[in-house]
C-alpha cells in the first residue's frame, strides 16, 4: 500500500487529482470573484469600457454620503427583518418541535411549499394584496375601518414584510434543529428546582437555543443586504438597498468597476458577520449551505 502511494505521488500530475467539485468551484465561483476583485481597482472610459489601470477611486466613492445612507438603510432593514423573523419563527419552530410527527410534517410542508414557486411571482401576489386597489384595502374599506385606501405598498414596511416573507424559512430551520435537540428532562429539572415557566425559558431554553438564533440571524441578515428584487417589487424604488445600487451599476449605469467595488464591500461585511458568528462560538455547519 505504502509503495503504491508513493508511486502515485511521484508519477501522477497534480492537475488530475482535482475533483470535479473543485473544478466547478474554481470556474464558477473563484474566477468570477477574482475578476470582480480585479476590476474593482480599474476605471472606465467614456464608452463604459473597463480600462485596466490601477485606481482606488471606486472605493473612495463608497464613502459618498448618499451611498453611506443606503448602507445604513440596508442594515436597518436587515436588522428589522432579522428581529421580526426571530419573533415569528421561534414560536413556530417551538411548536413544530413539540407536536406530533404528523403535524410536524404538515408544518414543514407548508413552510417549504412556497419555495417551489419563484419568489418574484410570490412577491407580485403581495402587491396584489397590498396595493392601493388591493384586497386588503378593499376589505378595510368595506368594513368601514378606513375611508381612504392606505398606502401600504412602496414603503419601508412593505420591503421588510417582503424580506420576512422570503427569508422566514431560513430562520425556522436552524431554530427547529436546536429546539428539537433540546432534552425535555432539562425543563422538568428546572421546574423541579422551583422555576416558573417564564424563568425556565429565560434560564434554560433561550441560552440553549441561542446557537440556532445566531445561525438563523446570519442566514436572514446577509441575504437581506443583497435581495434587491424585494426592494424593487415591494419598495418600488423608495427604499434603496446596497443590492439595488450594485445591480444598477451593472445593468443600467454600466459602471462595472464601481459596482464591483460595492460588491466587494458587501462581501467584506458578510465575511465580518460570519467571523463574528464563529468567534462567538457559532459553527459554520449549523448554517447549512450558504
Amino acid at each position: 500500500m505504502q509503495d503504491r502511494h508513493t508511486f502515485r505521488k511521484k508519477t501522477v500530475p497534480l492537475i488530475t487529482m482535482i475533483s470535479p467539485v473543485t473544478a466547478w468551484l474554481i470556474l464558477l465561483i473563484a474566477l468570477p470573484l477574482l475578476y470582480i476583485l480585479v476590476i474593482s481597482f480599474c476605471g472606465t472610459d467614456d464608452a463604459h469600457n473597463i480600462v485596466f489601470h490601477f485606481t482606488l477611486k471606486n472605493y473612495a466613492k463608497l464613502f459618498d454620503p448618499t451611498i453611506l445612507s443606503i448602507y445604513s438603510n440596508s442594515l436597518v432593514i436587515a436588522l428589522l427583518t432579522t428581529v421580526i423573523c426571530i419573533l415569528v419563527a421561534y414560536p413556530f419552530a417551538y411548536i413544530m418541535a413539540s407536536t406530533t410527527p404528523f403535524r410536524k410534517t404538515l408544518m414543514m410542508i407548508f413552510l417549504m411549499l412556497p419555495f417551489w414557486t419563484n419568489s418574484i411571482i410570490r412577491l407580485y401576489s403581495w402587491r396584489t394584496l397590498l396595493g392601493t386597489n388591493g384586497y386588503v384595502n378593499l376589505l378595510l374599506l368595506k368594513i368601514g375601518l378606513i375611508q381612504q385606501p392606505i398606502e401600504m405598498l412602496f414603503t419601508r414596511g412593505a420591503v421588510v414584510l417582503g424580506m420576512v416573507y422570503t427569508l422566514l424559512p431560513f430562520m425556522v430551520l436552524p431554530l427547529h434543529t436546536v429546539i428539537d435537540k433540546l432534552d425535555g428532562g432539562l425543563h422538568e429539572a428546572s421546574s423541579d428546582l422551583g422555576a416558573k415557566p417564564v424563568k425556565t425559558f429565560l434560564h434554560i431554553t433561550l441560552p440553549l437555543t441561542a446557537p440556532g438564533i445566531f445561525a438563523g440571524s446570519i442566514m436572514v441578515f446577509i441575504p437581506c443586504l443583497g435581495y434587491f428584487f424585494v426592494s424593487n417589487l415591494m419598495g418600488g424604488g423608495t427604499s434603496q438597498l446596497i443590492g439595488n445600487v450594485i445591480s444598477r451599476q451593472f445593468k443600467e449605469a454600466f459602471n462595472w468597476p464601481y459596482g464591483a467595488a460595492l460588491a466587494i464591500m458587501l462581501i467584506l461585511i458578510t465575511l465580518l458577520l460570519v467571523r463574528i458568528y464563529t468567534k462567538t462560538g457559532g459553527k459554520i455547519d449549523d448554517l447549512g449551505v450558504m
Binding site: 428532562g185 432539562l186 429539572a189 423541579d192 428546582l193 422555576a195 434554560i204
Partner: protein, 377 residues
C-alpha cells in the same frame, strides 16, 4: 417512623387506553429509604413522576405532608428529583447548576455560595464548582445531580434509577454513599430501581410493583422471606416455585399439598382444603437427601453442580421435568452429577402463597390455559 409524609390513595393513571398504574395505595414514611422495585413498564417511574408533579394522576389522591398536590406544579412541591439522565444544565457550571434552585427561590447570593459549597462537599465534589458538566465523568455528574437536588432541603428526595448508567463498581460505591447521605440528611428517599440487589441492600422498605399493581410493600427481609404474591417470590432472588393444591393438615400441624411433581409439605395457618396455592422455597433452604423423607415424594436426578466460591449451586431435575435449584455451603458434601436425590425442606421454610381471588379467570391464568387456548387457535 410510622408518620406518613407521602400518601398515595387509590391512584390510577391512564395513558390513553393504557392503564399503567392500577388502584395504587401506598404510604411513604418520614425519614425512610423506600425503593419502588419492578421490571420495566411496571409503573414505578410513573408513580415517582406523579409524586414529583411531572405527571397528573387520572384519579385518586396524592398528598405530601398532608397537603393534596394534584393542582400543584412541580415548582410548587417541596420534593426534588434526581433524574436518570441527570438532566444537568449543560451551559452552566457545576456551581451554577447546584445554585439554580436557591437562585429561583431568591436566596441571597452570599448564602447561596456557602450552601453550594456545603452541598458539593456532601457529595465529595469540593473544588469542582467551576467545571462544566461535559468535563465530568458519569459518577461525578450523578453527584452534581444529587447535590443540585438536596441543596433545596426537600422533605422528600425522588430518585429515578439514578445509578442506571454507571458501571458495576461505581454503582456499588454510590449505593453505599447514597445510603449514608440519606442517614446523614434524615430525609425521605424514594428510590426507583429495577435492580433487586440494589433495593435489598439500600432500602428500609421495598415496594414491589408489577403491571401497574403494587404487589407487596415491606422490609427487605419480609419481601425476601415472606413474599405474599407469586410475582414477588419469583422476582426477588432465586426460588423453587410449586403450583399445588392443599390436601389436608397432618397430625404434626404441617400441611400436605399435591403438586404435579409429587407430594409436598409446608406450614400454613390459613389452610383451606382444595385451594390452589403456590409454594416457594429458596434454594438455600432446599435440601437434597439420598433417601426419601416423610411428607415428600420429589425424586430427581442431579444434573450439575456449579461452584461459585461461597456456595455450590446444584440443579436437580425432577421426574416431571421441573428443575430444582439447591444451594449448599461450599465444603459440605455435594451429590455427584447423575445421582438420584430426594428433594425436601423444613416445612417452616416454605412460603405458601394464596391467590388473592379464586375466580375462574385467575385460575385459568395461573394454569396457563390461556396460552394453551391461544396456541390451539
Amino acid at each position: 417512623m410510622a408518620k406518613a409524609i407521602v400518601e398515595i390513595k387509590n391512584v390510577n393513571k391512564f395513558y390513553g387506553d393504557n392503564h399503567v398504574v392500577k388502584d395504587l395505595d401506598m404510604e411513604i414514611y418520614e425519614g425512610e429509604f423506600l425503593s419502588i422495585l419492578g421490571p420495566s413498564g411496571c409503573g414505578k417511574t410513573t408513580t415517582l413522576r406523579m409524586i414529583a408533579g411531572f405527571e397528573q394522576q387520572t384519579d385518586g389522591v396524592i398528598t405530601v405532608e398532608g397537603e393534596r398536590v394534584e393542582n400543584k406544579e412541580p415548582f410548587e412541591r417541596n420534593v426534588n428529583t434526581v433524574f436518570q439522565s441527570y438532566a444537568l444544565f449543560p451551559h452552566m457550571t457545576v456551581h451554577d447548576n447546584v445554585a439554580y434552585g436557591l437562585k429561583m427561590k431568591k436566596v441571597k447570593k452570599a448564602e447561596i455560595a456557602g450552601r453550594v459549597e456545603d452541598a458539593l462537599s456532601m457529595v465529595r465534589l469540593e473544588g469542582f464548582g467551576k467545571r462544566y458538566p461535559a468535563q465530568l465523568s458519569g459518577g461525578q455528574r450523578q453527584r452534581v445531580a444529587i447535590a443540585r437536588a438536596i441543596i433545596n432541603n426537600p422533605r422528600v428526595l425522588l430518585l429515578d434509577e439514578p445509578l442506571g448508567a454507571l458501571d458495576m463498581k461505581l454503582r456499588k460505591q454510590m449505593q453505599i454513599e447514597l445510603k449514608n447521605l440519606q442517614k446523614q440528611l434524615g430525609i425521605t428517599f424514594v428510590y426507583v430501581t429495577h435492580d433487586q440487589e440494589e433495593a435489598l441492600t439500600m432500602s428500609d422498605r421495598i415496594a414491589v410493583m408489577s403491571g401497574g399493581v403494587l404487589e407487596q410493600i415491606g422490609t427487605p427481609a419480609e419481601i425476601y422471606e415472606k413474599p405474599t404474591t407469586k410475582f414477588v417470590a419469583d422476582f426477588i432472588g432465586e426460588t423453587n416455585l410449586f403450583e399445588a393444591v392443599e390436601a389436608h393438615v397432618r397430625d404434626d400441624g404441617t400441611v400436605c399439598l399435591n403438586a404435579e411433581a409429587g407430594e409436598l409439605t409446608g406450614a400454613d395457618p390459613r389452610f383451606s382444603a382444595a385451594e390452589l396455592v403456590y409454594l416457594s422455597v429458596r434454594p438455600e433452604k432446599t435440601l437434597a437427601s439420598e433417601s426419601p423423607v416423610t411428607g415428600f415424594s420429589l425424586r430427581g436426578t442431579v444434573r450439575e453442580n456449579i461452584y461459585i466460591g461461597t456456595v455450590v449451586k446444584s440443579t436437580v431435575v425432577l421426574q416431571n421435568g421441573q428443575e430444582i435449584r439447591v444451594s449448599s455451603i461450599a465444603g459440605a458434601p455435594v451429590p455427584a452429577a447423575g445421582s438420584a436425590r430426594y428433594i425436601h425442606w423444613n416445612p417452616g421454610d416454605a412460603v405458601i402463597i394464596h391467590s388473592k381471588s379464586n375466580t375462574i379467570l385467575d385460575l385459568m391464568d395461573s394454569l396457563d390455559l390461556g396460552a394453551y387456548v391461544a396456541g390451539g387457535a
